[in-house]
Amino acid sequence: MGTSLDFEKPIIELERQIEEIRKGAGKQLTGGTDGLEPLERRLAAMRAEVYKNLTPYQRVQVARNSKRPFTLDYIRLVLSDFVELHGDRLYREDAAIVGGWARLDGETVMIIGHQRGRDTKENLRRNFGMPHPEGYRKALRLMKLAEKFHVPVITFIDTPGAWAGLGAEERGQSEAIARNLFEMSRLETPIVATVIGEGGSGGALALGVADRVLMLENAIYSVITIEGCAAILWKDGKSPEMKERAATALRLTAEDLVRLKLIDEIVPEPLGGAHANHEESARALQAALVRHLDDLRRYKPEKLVRRRRQKFLHMGAFAE
């Protein structure tokens, strides 16, 4: 699952060298690690260089990297006092979406996010972060709960898409997603959504109708997976060339989404991506969330809803 990225190989190699020198220095007890400073500077420069020039396809790989912090990592690092809530009260619990009460900067929030797994076992349980209708219905239940107690909602988006399978269709995947879009557009409490990794089509948007929509610097947000796009348009969803072509054509990076006026802000990631430093990534996210919620708390619920609707009504690009 994309744990080592090709373009990161020189970085990883240099990291290994530095680590070895450090170990050696530790054994000698004397001599120190003075010689490391230029190497570390070189590492930082290399990270900056590689990450400054990421292609859209490399961004997709970074966004999907399983070393990146996931929803539960951010819950641990950004929030406190988390109590997880389970189940949609209709059919079953869906572990592809997690949610519950938590505190941001001491204040209660409702946190809801897609949850991917880091290993095969976890991914089977989490279904690779691809929810069934139950996941979306649980999410909606928690949002309504937040509204009831006048608590803001924070969502983290990180999914290749909603699950495509027999049970998901039988139980109304379309209806579940549509219902969330409908209800989120009228929820009378602040909502801040952040794409933390992959924002895959309707399955992502079902947690994404918010007063503020943020994206982490290396996150992506797309109407279809690059593989799906390439398969449909160029009959080849597997070759790197076609995936690269789709990644470029779809304009799915955070900068693209700002340019298209579809998101509000890019949350910076540490040098070398969020996976290089979970804590630093979490600090930037926390600061952004606190700032936006402070701002949104000023609005009365009716005004909040009116502004949220206007925001989405203005999305689109056409000639007239």
Binding site: Q173, L205, F318
Partner: protein, 287 residues
């Protein structure tokens, strides 16, 4: 419903009637039944032999649902741009316009149905697979807002493979945009009837198509979030017979009714009358 009314022509001599040109014949896509095109048309493009509901154009549904001569098309001047500079998109658009005409993948009209003022949007699968980009979203949002302002019921006939890839995340956001307008409509207590035709999948099914106060579907229409091919690929096995058909959705509680094309107008009128406090149409009192 002028579009399928038989043209009044002088009866032709028997001999000449046998010499029907080859292109006057059509074959049912489902059962291969062959018949005169005129006969298909007169039967609303439902196969006279197996009842298969063939795909018809947006303007056909407008003629089928709205009162004769009552309607006017809206926002015909909205045109798709190419905001992503997506490979081959302008060419695809031009081909679609040449084949189908202006108006993109949805036709929006205001008019009357059973003398009630209504707004209707009808998607056209012939235009890039009925895909929803910015224009489709904007036309439906404007129509919905018109319904909100005038308190006129809304009808949307869906036929779509989903969001339009060539407009990327802009297309995706049309799902949120249209759903937000429908929420306004619901809050004002204005009825919305959603009609699903073959096929209704992807971003359209996961937004306005599944949000009707009443949801109807034509017999046999394929309706789902993921297309059958994608699901088959994901699960690695064949799909059960009838999976994702209108009848399947009805059985699973996702629809109010599967309605034959011949009954569509009457059913919609009945629903709208119930939901907007209007008396039953004369002659419609059931036993």
């Amino acid at each position: 419903m002028a579009w399928f009314r038989k043209e009044k022509k002088a009866r032709q001599p028997r001999r000449e009637r046998l010499e029907i040109p080859a292109d006057a014949w059509e074959k049912c896509e489902a059962c291969a039944h062959t018949d005169l095109r005129e006969k298909f048309v007169r039967n609303l493009n439902v196969c006279p032999s197996c009842d298969y509901h063939r795909r018809i154009r947006a303007s056909d549904y407008v003629a089928l649902l709205l009162d004769d001569g009552s309607w006017e098309e809206l926002d015909l001047d909205l045109k798709s741009a190419d905001p992503l500079e997506f490979p081959d998109y302008p060419q695809r658009l031009n081909r679609a316009i040449a084949k189908v005409g202006e108006g993109d993948a949805v036709m929006t009209v205001e008019g009357t149905l059973g003398a009630m003022p209504i707004n209707a949007a009808v998607m056209d699968f012939a235009f890039m697979g009925g895909s929803m980009g910015s224009v489709v979203g904007e036309k439906i949002a404007r129509l919905g807002q018109r319904s909100v302002e005038r308190k006129h019921p809304l009808i949307i006939v869906s036929a779509s493979g989903g969001a339009r890839m060539q407009e990327g995340a802009l297309s995706l956001m049309q799902m949120a945009k249209t759903s937000a307008v429908l929420a306004q409509l619901a809050e004002r207590g204005v009825p919305y009837v959603s009609i699903l035709t073959n096929p209704t999948t992807g971003g359209v099914s996961a937004s306005y198509a599944m949000l009707g106060d009443a949801i109807l579907a034509e017999p046999g229409a394929v309706v789902g979030f993921a297309g059958p091919r994608v699901i088959k690929q994901t699960i690695g096995q064949d799909l059960p017979q009838g999976f994702q058909t209108a009848e399947f959705l009805l059985d699973h509680g996702m629809l109010d009714a599967v309605v034959h094309r011949k009954q569509l107008k009457r059913t919609v009128e009945q629903l709208l009358r119930h939901m907007s406090g209007q008396p039953a149409s004369t002659g419609w009192t059931s036993p």
